[in-house]
């Protein structure tokens, strides 16, 4: 099938400098996309506009929204959704799956090591100062035994593709990765938008996610009882991911709690119910480390529970993900993950790292400053696309100011060469246009090993030419199909 022959594919501007998920370099539609394109050809742009409207309406009426407060008035916003699915072939998925499993295994071993014997530091594989200067290296975790030695129960590994289609890991999210509810909801919406298309294309299902997660959580219970109490700890309704917390709690059938519902007595955690106190065995928390326990971390926080860390250390409650994981997904530690894989597993890394320069290192900093126009500079503990500098898109003045910022505390910054990110077709203003995307599959680490639901969250930079997919920076999402 040739692009020129079809309706709204006309003028699809393919850029030879980027990998397009739909078009090959020879301008042919890749086999994985052909069924979808055939289906779309039977629709007019009017039909597609209606589908777009339907998608919006479904999100709004189901309350899949976040509230933006503007002059005291709550306005419901939706996370922008593009109706055209992003498609991953089964071969691509096999590779991704193997790569993530390998990486996660190594990261988990690293966490166990760094909070106990520190062999990897003693062997000089990772410089000690990088670990000790990481704000997410939690000393309270030292020699704290976690159930099954699993730290990274839930991981969201961000992947991108360079111009030749090679997958790179952009970030490891090992603390409280979010977005999985959008993986689930986007699929539900797609079922409504394109009847019969999913089975026709043999798309693998993602609905098992909550069941696997619940099975893993339940298995962590310190009390050997048939029906342990598992709770999901949320910061509350004003958190922008609150919709996700309620969705997961409902799908797993666990109690959604806030810090004020919990109490610690004699190193055991209880929740306050209408029948009195009920012991809690497993906490899937969506509250960051520093707010978990005011006695140990931020003393002014009311989101957590006083005494929680002591109960955790006693082994009376399991916390998911483990506390202190931030040291493994720190952006300065990131560049050592390939070395970790070799050190702990004696394997070559399957998924590549984006080359990363430590600005704490004098020579590397010098090199980065000399080539700043081709670099992306990030804070090591930043997220959400905030506080980034894109060298090629910044003015002299911005660059100079950013350099001063870096020199104040160089350890807090890393630089990476600009990676172009692959593009996928999006339905925008009545026609298909390419936009840049990434991919966040969600991996669940349980006692039976690592399971990855075939799918994930594809984020898309909806602004033309933009390389930033974060929702706070004008990004949206797509349904993500993995073909059988």
């Amino acid at each position: 099938m040739i692009a020129e022959t079809v309706g709204f594919l006309e003028k699809y501007p393919s850029d030879l400098g980027t990998w397009d998920e739909m078009f090959g370099f020879d301008q042919n539609i890749r086999p994985s996309y052909q069924n979808v394109i055939k289906y779309l050809l039977n629709e007019t742009s009017d039909d597609l506009n209606k589908k777009e409207e339907l998608a919006k309406r479904l999100f709004i009426s189901q309350g899949i929204t976040f509230t933006v407060y503007d002059s005291g008035e709550g306005i419901e916003k939706i996370f922008p959704f593009d109706i055209i699915p992003r498609i991953i072939t089964s071969d691509e998925w096999k590779f991704i799956e193997a790569g993530i499993k390998q990486r996660l295994k190594a990261l988990n071993l690293f966490l166990k090591d760094v909070y106990s014997n520190m062999f990897i530091l003693k062997d000089g594989v990772i410089p000690i100062d990088i670990i000790y200067s990481c704000p997410h290296f939690i000393r309270e975790m030292h020699s704290l035994k976690v159930p099954g030695d699993i730290y990274t129960h839930i991981a969201g590994i961000d992947l991108i593709r360079d111009f030749d289609g090679t997958f790179y890991v952009l970030e490891d999210n090992l603390r409280t990765p979010s977005g999985v509810s959008y993986m689930l909801e986007n699929r539900e919406i797609t079922k409504r938008l394109f009847p019969d298309l999913l089975p026709q294309c043999k798309v693998r299902s993602v609905t098992e996610y909550p069941n696997i997660l619940y099975k893993n959580l339940k298995a962590l219970s310190p009390r050997q009882i048939s029906n342990p109490t598992v709770v999901l700890l949320s910061p509350g309704m004003f958190n922008s991911a609150y919709f996700e917390h309620t969705t997961l709690a409902r799908l797993m059938g666990v109690e959604l709690v806030e810090g004020r519902d919990l109490i610690v007595d004699n190193h055991k955690v209880y929740m306050k119910t209408t029948k009195g106190l009920q012991q809690v065995d497993v906490i899937y928390r969506r509250v960051d480390d520093e707010f978990l326990d005011p006695l140990v971390f931020n003393p002014t926080s009311v989101l957590g529970v006083a005494g929680l860390m002591a109960a955790y250390r006693k082994g009376n409650v399991a916390i998911v993900n483990a506390v202190g994981n931030g040291v493994a997904d720190d952006k300065a530690v990131y560049s050592y993950v390939p070395k970790m894989i070799k050190y702990y597993l004696n394997e070559e890394p399957l998924l590549k790292n984006v080359p990363t320069y430590q600005l704490g290192n004098h020579d590397e900093r010098k090199y980065v400053f000399e080539n700043i126009n081709t670099m992306v500079i990030k804070r090591t503990n930043g997220s959400g696309g905030y506080g980034m500098l894109m060298g090629f898109a910044s003015t002299e003045k911005e660059i100079e100011e950013y350099k001063l910022e870096i020199l104040k505390d160089p350890r807090q910054f890393i630089a990476q060469p600009t990676i172009s990110l692959s593009a996928a077709p999006c339905y925008l203003n009545g026609k298909l246009s390419p936009r840049r995307i990434d991919l966040r599959p969600f991996a669940l680490y349980g006692s039976d090993g690592i399971e990855i639901v075939p799918g994930g969250l594809t984020r898309v930079a909806l602004k033309e030419g933009s390389l930033v997919v974060n929702s706070s920076q004008g990004g949206g999402s797509k349904d993500t199909w993995v073909l059988a």
């Binding site: 709004i60 189901q62 709690a249 409902r250 306050k272």
Partner: protein
Amino acid sequence: MLSRVAANLYWLSRYIERSDGVLRMLKINYASSQDALNEFSWRPVIKIYSDIEEEQLQKMEFNSRAVLEYMVMDKKNPFSILNMITMARENARSVQDHITKDLWQCLNEYYLVIKDPSLAKSLQKDDPVSVLDILIKQIMLYYGTAEVTMERGEGRSFMNIGKYLERSIQSVDVLHVKFGSVDNNPDLLTDTTYWKHLLLSLGGYDLYLKTYRQGIEAENILEQVVLNNDFPRSVIYSVNNIFRYFSKLKNDNQIEDRDLSFSIGKLQSRIKYSSAKSIDQERLTFINSVKHELYHIGNALNDQYFAYS
């Protein structure tokens, strides 16, 4: 069930029941205002359903559109339908894992309907009854969805306790205002329109006509609104249901009693073993003591089952 969740379900339900009461009241009074020969005063309605300042009340007392605006859409009136539905939705939002997805969507859609600017415009420019009907229908939808989809468990018991407590308080409030005015103005006792109006506001006029053939009398009204087991807005009907759902909570969930069944049972008996005649003799004293007991039950629920730490 978490205390916070129980409290949210209970309040969610009270807000909805109250909205229902207010909307029906507004609809009936608006119809009367179109029938009135003299200027129609909204004073009693506003008094029952808001805590408005006298000065503001005087300004809008005779202006139906202004009252509707205030009671339905005013953001500054904490008891406006807009604010109550917003609160109901906020409560529902934080307990989404305890209500069905259908019920959550129903409330979320209600919220979107009432936030739609075109509805506010209609209320000012077009037939207000159509707007009130839209809002009442949403509540019917809520009750239907709750009835069909909600699990018959602890959550629903707390919701029903909230619903019937709110409903009984409203019925008592209406009696209180209506009979309170009689003390100052005994002529009202024989004013048929005055009483017809009371019955209409509670949706009990048809039933009254069927039950009592000899015209409208205070004693009969008290009998229907307080004692009639078959009238869904009677005080005894609501109190029986509070008793029923509290007993269910106790039996199904082994929640501790802490004297609450004593209070509820006492109130139930106080009403059940009163005759219409005896109530008519005491009137306000009786109404006040029932009201006091209902408030007591509300506070006890809060202290014993919902309160934190």
